[in-house]
Amino acid sequence: MRKTLDRKLSRRKFLGTTAASGAALAATGTGLSRVSFAAGHTIKIGFLAPFTGPVAAWGKPGYDGCLIWADWVNAKGGVKIGDKSYRIEFVGYDNEYDAGKAKTGATKLIKEDGVKFIMMLGGDTWPGVEKIAEREGMLFSTLLPSDLSPDTKTLVAPCEVHPIYNVTGVEWLAENKKNLKTAAICAQDDALGKPSVATYLAAFEAAGIKMVDAPLFFDPATTDFAPVMTKLLAKKPDILCLDTCYADYVHPLCEQAFQQGYKGQIISCTADFYQVIVEKTSKDFMEGFVFQFPDFDDPALNAKEVNFVNPNEFYAEYSKRYGAKEWSAVSWEYASIMDLWADAAGKAGSADPGPVLKAMKAGGTGKHAFGDAKWWGKELFGIDNALVGNWPVVVIEGGKAKIKAFKSIPAWWAKHSKLMIKHMTALGQMWNQR
C-alpha cells in the first residue's frame, strides 16, 4: 500500500513538473516574441524550408547561415529602412519538403508571425504556397527557378538559378581537360533531377562531349546504388556526371564509383559534406572532382566583384558554430538573398513586399553574391525573375574545395540558348510544359 502511494505521489510530481516546465517554456517563447514586437523595431523574415527529411541538407544549413547573418546585421544596428534601423528576426518553419505542410507554414508565417518576406527552397513545396503568395501579395524567394512562371509575379530566384549555372562546370571542364570526350549521367527522377539533366545534356552538347547512354533516372527511394553505378560505368565514360543529386545520393554514388574502380573525371552540381566522401573514399579518388559550390574560406571570394559581405569570416563563424563538415551548398545562399533584400528594403524605404520587389528589380540589374547580375529568365521561365551573372567552378584538390574560375552564365546562354531550350523541351521542363 505504501509502495503504491509513493509511486502515485512521484508520478504526480513528475506530471506536475513536466506540465509546469512545458507551460514555462511556452510562456517564455511567446513572451519573448511579444517583447520584440512591442519594441516596434523588428522585422520578421520567414524561412520555409525542409529542416528534416532527405532534403534537409538544402534547408537547415541555410537557416543556420541566416542566423549568423542576423546576428551580424543586428550587432551593427540592424537594417536601415527610411529613418529607422530595424532588428531582423528569422522565423523558421520545417515544411518537410511537403506541399501541404508548406501551405500551413506559409499561412502561419504570414498571418500569425507577420513576416515581410519568405525564403523557400521551392520545388515540390512551392505549388502548395502559390495561391497564398498570390492572395496575400507576399514576396517569396526560391532557390529553384523552375518554380518561376508568368503567374508567379511575387516569386524571385535572386541567388541560385538552378540548374542553369551547371553549364559553367562543363564549360570549364571542356576548356581545361580537352581529352574528355564522353559522359554518362544519372539523376533521381524528380523535379530537381530532370531540369538539371536537360541542362547538363545541353552543356555537354555545346562542349562537344558525347553521351555514352541515355540519362539514367533512378527512383528517389533508391538505397542500393551499386546497380546504378554498374550501369553508368558499363560503357566506360570519360566523365561521370552526378547531376543535381541530393547529398544522400551523391555520397553512396561516389562510394560505389570508388568501390567499382572508377578512376575518371566526376562532375556534380553539389558535393555537400564532401569531406565525408573524401574520408570514405580517398583523396586521390576525389582529386579533380568538379562541382559548383565553394567553401567560403576560399581567397578567390575576396575579389572586388564579389558582393557577398565578408565571405571568409562568414565561413569561419559558420564552422565555429556548427562545424566545418556541416557546411553545405545552401549555407550561404539564403544569407546572400538577405543582402539583396536588405539593400532593396533600404532603397524602397519600406519592408512591405510590393515596394521591396520593385526596388529589387529596378533597372533590371542586381547585386548577386558572385558579382553584378541581371534579372533574366523570360525565355526559359516566362518571367524575368531570376538574377543571373557569374558562377564559380569548384574543384577538389588535395581533399579541399577550391574555386578555379568564375564563369558567365549569360555569355554561355548567348551562344547556346537554343540547345538549352531543345533539351528542356525534350524533357518537358519549359515553363509552358510544366
Binding site: 517554456l25 517563447g29 501541404g100 500551413t104 502548395g128 495561391k131 523535379a191 527512383d219 528517389p220 518537358g428
Partner: protein, 348 residues
C-alpha cells in the same frame, strides 16, 4: 504487427438508456468539433483540415485490416483518388464535388483490379505485394508526364467551388470553411464505415481474419470478401485523396510515397486497431504532438527522433494502442474504488 480484435458487442449501447448516453456523447463530440476551429489559430485550422482528411485515410485503412491483411499501398490508393479527381476537374472541367466522388470510384476500381494478383497472397507476402503494386502506380505517375505531370505532379488544381447565394457566401480557401466541408464528408464516410463493420459483412471480415479456413468451410467466399474490404477501404481513401488535392492545390508522386505510408501505419499501431476509434485516436494524438506541441516548443529538427521514441515506447508499454488506455483507466478506477473493501476482505 498488431491484429484487429473482434468488434466489441456494444451491448451497453443497445439498451434505451445506453442509446441516450451514446447520443448525448455524439452531440457533445459534434459540439466540440464545431467550436474547435474557432479556438485555433489560422495555421492550426490548416492543420485541423489535414488532420480530418487523415482521420478518413486511417479509418479506411482499418477496414482493410479487419480481414487480417495489412497493405503498404493504401497511401498510393489515396493518390489514385487525388490524381483522378484533380485530372477530371482540371482537364475535363468536371465539377469538383463530382470529380471527388469519381476519384473515390477510380481508387475503388484500381483496388478491384489489384485484388486479383494481391489476394493470391496472404500476410507478409500481401504486404510486399501491395508495396510493389503501389510503386508501379507511382512510377506510372512519374513516367507519363502527360497527363500525370511526371515527378513534379499536378499543380494549380481547381479548388472546391465557393458558395455565393447572395445571403450566404462561403470561400473554401479559408481553412475554417474547408474544415467544416471535410468534417461533413468525413463524418458521413465514418458513419458508413462504422455501419459496414457492424453489419453481417463486417462480422464476416472478422471471421476471415481469425478463421479463414473455417469461414471457407461454411461457404464464405474469402476472396470476394477480402476484395470487398479492399475496394470499400480504397473508395474512402480515394475520397480523402480528393479532399487533399483540392485543398492543397497540388499532388506529386512523392506525396504518396512509402514515407507517408509509414505514418499511416504508425497512427494505426499507436492508436490500436481493435476498435473503430483506435486509429482515429492515434492520428489525432500524434498529429497534435508532432505539429502543434513539438513545433510550439521549437523542437522542429528533433521531431523525427521524438516521433520515433513515441512509437517505440508505445509498442513497449502500450502494445494494444492508445485505445486500451480507456479500459485500463476504468479498471484501475474500479480497483481503487474496491480497494479498501478488497483489502479488508483479504485481511479477513
Amino acid at each position: 504487427m498488431p491484429e484487429p480484435a473482434v468488434a466489441p458487442s456494444g451491448s451497453r449501447a443497445g439498451s434505451p438508456a445506453g442509446r441516450i448516453v451514446w447520443r448525448l456523447r455524439f452531440a457533445l463530440l459534434f459540439a466540440v468539433l464545431a467550436v474547435l476551429p474557432y479556438l485555433l489559430s489560422y495555421s492550426q485550422q490548416e492543420i485541423a483540415v489535414l488532420l480530418v482528411i487523415n482521420v478518413l485515410l486511417v479509418s479506411s485503412y482499418r477496414l482493410l485490416t479487419l480481414t487480417g491483411e495489412w497493405s503498404l499501398g493504401h497511401v498510393v490508393i489515396m493518390g489514385v483518388g487525388a490524381y483522378a479527381s484533380a485530372l477530371l476537374a482540371k482537364r475535363l472541367g468536371v465539377p469538383v464535388p463530382f470529380s471527388m466522388l469519381i476519384g473515390g470510384c477510380m481508387a475503388a476500381a484500381t483496388a478491384a483490379i489489384l485484388s486479383f494478383p494481391l489476394f493470391r497472397m496472404k500476410g507478409f507476402y500481401f504486404l510486399i505485394g501491395s508495396f510493389a503494386a503501389g510503386e508501379i502506380i507511382r512510377l506510372i505517375w512519374k513516367r507519363f508526364t502527360d497527363p500525370f505531370g511526371g515527378p513534379k505532379g499536378l499543380k494549380r488544381i481547381d479548388a472546391f467551388p465557393n458558395i455565393d447565394t447572395g445571403f450566404l457566401s462561403i470561400d473554401f480557401y479559408e481553412p475554417v470553411n474547408y474544415y467544416f466541408l471535410a468534417l461533413i464528408i468525413v463524418s458521413i464516410s465514418l458513419f458508413i464505415l462504422y455501419r459496414i463493420e457492424r453489419s453481417r459483412i463486417g462480422l464476416t471480415f472478422h471471421a476471415i481474419h481469425w478463421q479463414d479456413r473455417l469461414a471457407e468451410s461454411i461457404g464464405v467466399d474469402t476472396f470476394r470478401y477480402r476484395t470487398l474490404a479492399f475496394v470499400i477501404a480504397s473508395f474512402f481513401a480515394g475520397i480523402a485523396g480528393g479532399l487533399y488535392a483540392h485543398y492543397v492545390g497540388t499532388v506529386n508522386p512523392t506525396r504518396f510515397g512509402v514515407d507517408q505510408m509509414v505514418y499511416v501505419l504508425v497512427w494505426a499501431i499507436v492508436g490500436g486497431t481493435a476498435t473503430f476509434h483506435g486509429p482515429i485516436l492515434g492520428v489525432i494524438v500524434l498529429t497534435v504532438i508532432n505539429e502543434i506541441v513539438l513545433r510550439g516548443l521549437g523542437l522542429d529538427t528533433a521531431r523525427p527522433l521524438i516521433y520515433g521514441a513515441i512509437l517505440i515506447l508505445s509498442v513497449l508499454y502500450l502494445p494494444d494502442g492508445l485505445e486500451s488506455l480507456g479500459p485500463k483507466l476504468r479498471a484501475w478506477l474500479q480497483r481503487r474504488r474496491r480497494g479498501p473493501a478488497t483489502a479488508g476482505g483479504e485481511a479477513a
